[in-house]
C-alpha cells in the first residue's frame, strides 16, 4: 500500500483524535464560510469541467477537495482563485482574502537560469533582479525558506530541484505572501516519500494560522488532514466533516463503485 500521510508523529489517526484537535473551538460546520460558491459552472474550451457547483469553505478549516481524475478539482481551486471565467456566484466573507497558491506542478523552462533566492525575491520586491538583492530581501527569503525547512536550497538553481523541493519552495513563496487562505493543489503528488512526510508535517504546523484548501485524490491524505471534506465529481457529491463524508455510499458515488468497496474493506480491517 502507498505510504500515507498521517499525524506529525506518524501515528495512525483515529476519528477521536481528529475531532479533538485543539484548534477547533467549535464544530467546523458551525463556523462562518469564508468562501461560498453558488451554482458555479465552468467551461474549458468545449468541455464542461464543473456543472452547478455549490459549496462552502468554513473559516480556519482544513478543507480537502477529493475526487477522481478529471473531477474538476484543479479547475475548482483555479476558479476560486479567480484564474478562470465562470457562471454563477463566488462569494467571499468578509472580503476577498489574500490567497497563497501552491500549484500542482510548476511548468516552467527548467534550464532557465534563476536561483531559488531570486525566485522567492520576485514576490517581495520590484527592485530588478539584475541589480542584486538587498540584505533585507535576502533575510526575508531565508526566513521563508526556514519555515519550510529548505534553507539549504537558497543558492540552488530552481530548475535543479526535485518535485518535493519545488513544492516546498512554492509553499515558501505562498507563505511569504502572507495569505489568509492557503490553496494547495495535490501537495503530495509527484513527491518522494520523505518529501511527502515533510509536506504533511509542515501543513500540520500551519494548521491554526490559515484557512487551508487542499486538493487531493488520495483518501488517506484527506482523512489525515481534513476537518472539512468536499467530494467532487464535476458537481459536489457531498460536503461535511470527514466522519460524515467518508461513507462507502458517498465514496462510491464520488469515485465509482470500486473505490468505495476498497475503503469499505479498509474500515472493516480497523
Amino acid at each position: 500500500m502507498k505510504p500515507t500521510c498521517q499525524g506529525p508523529l506518524n501515528e495512525p489517526l483515529s476519528k477521536a483524535s481528529l475531532s479533538e484537535s485543539p484548534v477547533v473551538k467549535f464544530e467546523v460546520r458551525d463556523r462562518p464560510a469564508i468562501i461560498k460558491l453558488d451554482k458555479v459552472k465552468v467551461t474549458l474550451g468545449q468541455y464542461q469541467a464543473l456543472e452547478e457547483v455549490s459549496l462552502k469553505i468554513p473559516e480556519k478549516s482544513q478543507t480537502v477537495i477529493i475526487g477522481p481524475n478529471g473531477a474538476g478539482k484543479s479547475t475548482l481551486v483555479q476558479t476560486i482563485l479567480g484564474f478562470l471565467p465562470y457562471q454563477g456566484q463566488v462569494d467571499f466573507q468578509p472580503h476577498k482574502p489574500r490567497f497563497g497558491y501552491v500549484p500542482q506542478r510548476l511548468d516552467f523552462d527548467r534550464h532557465m537560469p534563476i536561483t531559488v533566492t531570486e525566485f522567492l525575491a520576485l514576490g517581495l520586491t520590484a527592485w530588478p533582479l539584475w541589480l542584486g538583492l538587498s540584505g533585507k530581501v535576502k533575510k526575508s527569503v531565508l526566513a521563508g525558506l526556514e519555515l519550510v525547512r529548505a534553507l539549504e536550497l537558497a543558492a540552488k538553481p530552481l530548475g535543479a530541484l526535485s518535485g518535493g523541493e519545488t513544492q516546498r519552495v512554492m509553499l515558501a513563496a505562498a507563505l511569504m505572501s502572507k495569505p489568509e487562505v492557503l490553496v494547495l493543489d495535490e501537495p503530495a503528488t509527484g513527491v518522494d516519500i520523505n518529501g511527502e512526510q515533510l509536506m504533511c508535517e509542515l501543513l500540520d504546523g500551519f494548521k491554526s494560522d490559515y484557512t487551508i484548501v487542499m486538493v487531493s485524490h488520495d483518501l488517506p491524505t484527506a482523512k489525515a488532514h481534513g476537518d472539512w471534506v468536499i467530494c467532487l465529481n464535476r458537481r459536489v457529491v457531498a460536503q461535511g466533516p470527514p466522519d460524515r463524508v467518508f461513507t462507502p455510499k458517498i465514496l462510491a458515488a464520488t469515485f465509482g463503485l470500486h473505490q468505495g468497496l476498497e475503503l469499505f474493506s479498509q474500515e472493516a480491517l480497523v
Binding site: 500549484p103 537560469p113 536561483t115 531570486e118 520586491t125 520590484a126 527592485w127
Partner: protein, 276 residues
Amino acid sequence: MEILNSIYDIFGLIYEPTFMRRSALAMALLCLSTSSAGVMVVNRRLAFFPDAVGHSVFAGVALALLFGFNLQLTVLGLSVLIGLTITFLARHSHLASDTIIGLVFSGAVALGLALVSREPQATSGLSRFFLGDVLTVDDGQILALAGLALLSFVFLFFLTNRLTLSCLVPKTKKNTWTDYLFGAYLALVVAISVQAVGVLLVTALLIAPAATGRVLSVSLRGMFWLALCSGLLAGQLGLWASSLPAINAAAGASVVLTNVLLFGLASLFRSLGPLR
C-alpha cells in the same frame, strides 16, 4: 554634440576614420539595448518575434513611400502595431504562439511585397532595411540609439521581475498590461536595430548574447550581465575584425559571426567546465 565628440575621441584610440568611430559607438549603444532585451526574449521563448516584427518594416517602408508618410514614424508605428497584434493573438486565440508569429510574419512580408510590387520605385528605399548598415549611421541615429538604450534600462528596471515571474508561474489576469508593454517595447527595439544590421541579422543580435549568458550562468543576475558583456564584446570585436584589411567583410555580418562564435566558446566551456 560636445559629448559625442569626446566619446568619438575615445574610440579614436582604435579607429582612425570618423565613420568607424561613429559606428563603434552606434554598435555599443545598440548592443546595450538588444543584449538586455534579449534576456527576456530568450527566457520567454520569443525567438521568432523579432523576425516577424523585423520583416514588417518592409510594409512600413512601402506604406510610407506610397502615401508620403514620414518614413521613421510609419516604420516604428507599424512595428509596434505588429508587436501588439502578436501579443493580442497569442493571448486570445486558441493557436500556439509559434503559429501566430508565423502567420503574422508571412502576412507582414506579403503586405510589404504587395505594396512594393505596385510601386517599383519603392524598392530602392528597402535595401537599407534589408541589409542595414552600421557604417553609415549619422549623429541623429546615434541619438536615437542612445534613447533606445536608456528606454531599455528604464523598461527593464521596472519590469524585469514581473516579466520573469510571469514566465515561471501560471498565467493570471494580472500580467495583461505587462505583456502588451513588452510586445510594444520589443517591437521598438527591433524596428530601430533593423536599420543598423538589417532584417536578416536582427534576431542574432537579440538572441545570441542572451544565449551565451544563459549557457554560462545559474542565476538571472548572472545571465543578464554576461549577456550584456558578451553582446558588447562581440559588437566591438566584430566591427574591429570587419575593418581589418585581411577580413574586410560586411560589418553587420561580422558582428553576428562574432556573437555566434562567442556562444560556441561558451557552450564548449560549459560542456567542459563544472557548471551546475
